[in-house]
């Protein structure tokens, strides 16, 4: 097991090299010269030349690639071009609000979806199943933007139930701020979740062991909650755990609309202001988290499924 974990962690190296390569190609080769942006509207040509030198943009491409790689492995991303802040500091600060929003939203939506899909699986083929399935798909077919615009206007402004936007650090101060975006998150993710969970659960319901359980005289509910759920958890765990890395990145649009100073907002801002060091940092951070969590999902797999042994 330990060996497996170490080996998987070592896999980070090639993946980070790859991520660095993509980032490097996108931002150092294809993208343009950032100096004009950094110096503002009154920059002098001389100044731009000097800055290019200072940023290491005159170095040969391979040396620039090595710089990207170095930052990927040392986690030293330097400072943001636009805000001049230490990037690692920005990430640390941004992670808190992002997690305040995404974790509760994620937990609630996952649990809720699971409950709904179990219910739906119990009544499979019946009217309620069709209805819930249709609602899920219909809900998924509305643009996220429409939800955000409408919910914010209606619930926060018209009804005044929630804070309109902003964020306060510390529990429970942040609750009124994240409540509405969290609800939108839940609404957005319940559709695909239920759809997936339902498929997985139904896949299991038609397995032979369920017939055995019925032949044993177990009740349908007992079979669903014990036998089926336990087996369905295997794909569900993978599905759920692999979403976690994206929680850390926050919710781009939501954070932007609700002025939550999280990583999603930072990313969008960086993209809009060509703040390449921040974008690079976010990409690298996300791939590290992604690999780590796919490893965690594999390890959890062994707990859920006794057939899997990690070597």
């Amino acid at each position: 097991m330990t060996r497996y974990i170490i080996r998987r962690l070592l896999y980070l190296i090639p993946v980070l090299l790859g991520v660095s390569l993509i980032i490097f190609v996108l931002f150092n080769v294809v993208a343009g010269d950032p100096t004009a942006v950094l110096l503002g509207k009154n920059a002098t040509p001389r100044q731009m030349q000097e800055l290019r030198e200072q940023l290491g943009l005159n170095k040969p491409l391979f040396a620039q690639y090595l710089d990207v790689v170095r930052s990927a492995f040392t986690f030293d991303f330097g400072r943001s071009w636009s805000s001049k802040q230490e990037i690692s500091q920005m990430l640390r600060q941004g992670a808190y609000p992002s997690l305040c929003l995404t974790i509760p939203a994620f937990v609630i939506s996952t649990v809720l979806s699971l409950v709904i899909s179990l219910g739906v699986a119990f009544y499979r083929g019946k009217g309620i199943d069709l209805f819930v399935r249709f609602c899920c798909i219909a809900g998924m077919s509305v643009s996220a933007l429409a939800y955000i615009l409408f919910f914010q206007y209606f619930f926060a402004f018209k009804l005044g139930w929630f804070e309109i936007s902003g964020f306060e650090f510390g529990f429970p101060d942040f609750v009124p701020f994240i409540a509405l975006p969290a609800i939108i998150w839940i609404v957005l993710s319940i559709g695909p979740d239920v759809r997936f969970f339902r498929t997985v659960i139904l896949d299991e319901i038609y397995q032979d062991y369920v017939r055995t359980a019925r032949a044993k005289g177990l009740s349908e509910m007992h079979i669903l909650l014990k036998h089926v759920l336990r087996n369905a958890m295997i794909p569900i765990i993978t599905y759920v755990v692999i979403q976690i890395p994206f929680l850390i990145l926050g919710a781009l649009l939501l954070e932007n609309f609700f002025s939550i100073p999280g990583l999603g907002g930072i990313t969008l801002n960086a993209l809009n202001s060509s703040d390449f060091p921040v974008i690079k940092a976010m990409a690298i951070l996300s791939s590290v988290v992604y690999i780590v969590f796919s490893l965690i999902s594999d390890i959890l797999y062994t707990f859920a499924d006794p057939r899997v042994k990690l070597k």
Partner: protein, 578 residues
């Protein structure tokens, strides 16, 4: 009879409603199971035997399956009228069931002990501890070694036979009055089959249960059934006392079933099949005596002494990955130092249980798997290390027929496409029409209708598909064919037809066969020489009759004793007697 039977099925009809229409799976079936008796239900796949058993358990898939008529009386109460709750109370408690596939019938994520105890806890209202103790006792009863350790195992950590024992333990845990066993041994190796059958028989006696034993192979239940019900195309065609069935079968279908199984001793030149006894429309037809004349292969003189294939010290191994970076740390020798020769026009049979390396051996000879060392000499030429064009040419001479007729045909190709493909690859035939003509001739030869050639594999039955596979293998007019468990997945009645076909073809095209099977009686029937394979080695090799009469190795004896003795009670002559 004075006492009412435990279970009485009366005029049962089961329909399946699908989007395609309504199919009748069970038509007006009636039979009784008296208390403490074993009844065998025999029929080929699709005959409605399993559906009947599911109906008894109340496990039919609603709403697709509907019962428009009939009753199933358990102690006089109609199970069909039970609500879910009542059904649940009888399931596992009064009636319990064992399924065909022990691999998938156990929940993979729970320990087997828990799964047995669960049934106890549901019906017996006992404490966890008591249930566990009872579980260990049951596991002991069904012959699982070291129950306290085994109970904590997960299903995948057990062999197929042990899993089936667990299923049995689960089924008998609540002392059911009726045990339904649906093909409980079909998926198991021959040696294990025998043990499981013995176990079931013993338990049935001990627990005074009634048993409903479902199988496609009459031979299997010869020893244990009191009564036999024969089903054919959704109907019961014959039911009688087991002894009578075996000695004085009435219905031609039953006779066919009895006759089609190859015997360990002498057999006729071709196996009798159901179609010898019965016309397409189900009418009985007379069987010519010539067909049952016993034929001794060894009396036929060898056509030539030419050795077609020679295998010397063949080793085929698979890497075992391990270590930090998944390097190959060791090798598993699937085929370990095997040598033999096959003469032209002869058949070498290879028997052994699953995992003994016989399949790998077959594929190594065809170079579908690369052997590690040793040599394969075909027609005097060492083919161990030929590649590319030479290997391609070799394919024209050596062919293979696989075990699973379902997965060995590409589901997206029509029969014509499948059969002309080898011709395309090897550029045989001048035009497309010529190739189709060649395919047509062979289709006709293997007993399929030429008109069906534009169909897709899923539109054919298992036996028909195996004929297609045979036709494909013969398209290139090979000299040598490996039959890898080619009849194992088929019902006995179909198996006989395919075996006959293989023999006919061998005669006609002077083929040489390497016939791989786990079933000694089949090998005995078809092969001139038999090799017994165990753990990658051939431990014994001799003329078929000598192996049968005078086995040298212990393992061979086990294999022999595992063959069901059902057929012993009947003889071919009795079947055609009338």
């Amino acid at each position: 009879m004075t006492t009412s039977p435990l279970l009485s099925v009366r005029n049962l009809v089961v329909d399946f409603h699908t989007s395609e229409g309504v199919t009748r799976a069970v038509n007006n079936v009636s039979f009784d199971i008296p208390a403490g008796k074993t009844i065998g239900i025999v029929g080929e796949s699709g005959s409605g035997k399993s559906v009947t058993s599911l109906a008894v358990m109340g496990l039919l898939q609603k709403p697709a399956a509907r019962v428009p008529q009939g009753e199933i009386l358990l102690n006089g109460q109609d199970v069909l009228k039970f609500n879910d709750d009542q059904l649940r109370r009888i399931r596992g408690n009064q009636i319990s069931m064992i399924f065909q596939e022990p691999m998938t019938s156990l929940n993979p994520v729970f320990k087997v002990g828990e799964q047995i105890a669960e049934a106890l806890r549901v019906h017996k209202k006992i404490s966890k501890k008591e249930a566990w103790e009872k579980t260990l006792h049951l596991m002991n009863q069904v012959g699982i070694p070291n129950p306290s350790a085994s109970a904590n195992k997960y299903p995948h950590e057990m062999s197929g036979g042990q899993k089936q024992r667990v299923m049995i333990a689960m089924a008998i845990s609540c002392d059911p009055k009726l045990l339904i066993a649906d093909e409980p041994t079909t998926a198991l190796d021959v040696t294990i089959q025998k043990q499981v059958l013995d176990l079931l028989f013993r338990l049935q006696q001990e627990y005074h249960m009634s048993m409903m034993f479902i199988t496609h192979d009459l031979g299997v239940i010869g020893d244990i059934a009191d009564d036999v019900v024969v089903m054919y195309r959704s109907n019961v065609v014959e039911k009688n006392n087991a002894k009578h069935i075996f000695t004085t079968a009435q219905h031609p279908y039953t006779k066919g079933l009895l006759a089609c199984r190859p015997k360990l001793g002498a057999n006729p030149k071709r196996l009798l099949t159901v179609s010898d006894f019965m016309t397409e429309t189900g009418e009985e037809k007379p069987v010519s005596l010539a067909k049952i004349e016993v034929f001794d292969k060894e009396t036929v003189p060898d056509k030539s002494d030419e050795v077609l294939l020679e295998v010397n010290n063949l080793i085929t191994q698979f890497p075992i990955k391990g270590g930090f970076f998944g390097r190959t740390v060791d090798h598993f020798k699937a085929v370990s130092d095997v040598s033999f020769k096959i003469k032209k026009g002869k058949t070498l049979g290879l028997v052994g249980e699953s995992g003994c390396g016989k399949t790998t051996l077959g594929r190594s000879i065809l170079r579908l798997v690369e052997p590690a060392s040793g040599s394969i000499i075909y027609g005097g030429k060492d083919i161990t290390h030929v590649y590319a064009e030479e290997l391609r040419l070799l394919r024209r001479k050596m062919q293979i027929i696989f075990q699973d007729p379902y997965s060995s045909l590409n589901p997206r190709m029509t029969i014509t496409e499948i059969l002309t493909e080898p011709l395309n690859i090897h550029n045989i035939g001048a035009s497309k029409t010529e190739r189709i003509d060649m395919a047509r001739a062979l289709v006709d030869r293997v007993g399929l209708k030429v008109a069906q050639m534009n169909r897709y594999p899923h539109e054919f039955s298992g036996g028909q598909r195996q004929r297609i596979c045979i036709a494909r293998a013969l398209m290139l007019k090979p000299e040598f064919v490996v039959c890898d468990e080619s009849v194992s997945a088929l019902d006995v009645s179909i198996q006989a037809q395919v075996l006959n076909l293989l023999l006919d073809l061998q005669e006609e095209f002077s083929l040489t066969y390497l016939f791989i099977s786990h079933d000694l009686s089949v090998v005995n029937f078809i092969a001139d020489e038999v090799g017994v394979m165990y753990a990658g080695k051939i431990i014994e090799m001799d003329k078929a009759s000598r192996i049968y009469q005078n086995p040298k190795e212990e393992y061979t004896r086990t294999l022999l004793s595992a063959i069901p003795k059902g057929e012993v009670k009947s003889s071919l002559s009795s079947l055609v007697h009338k």
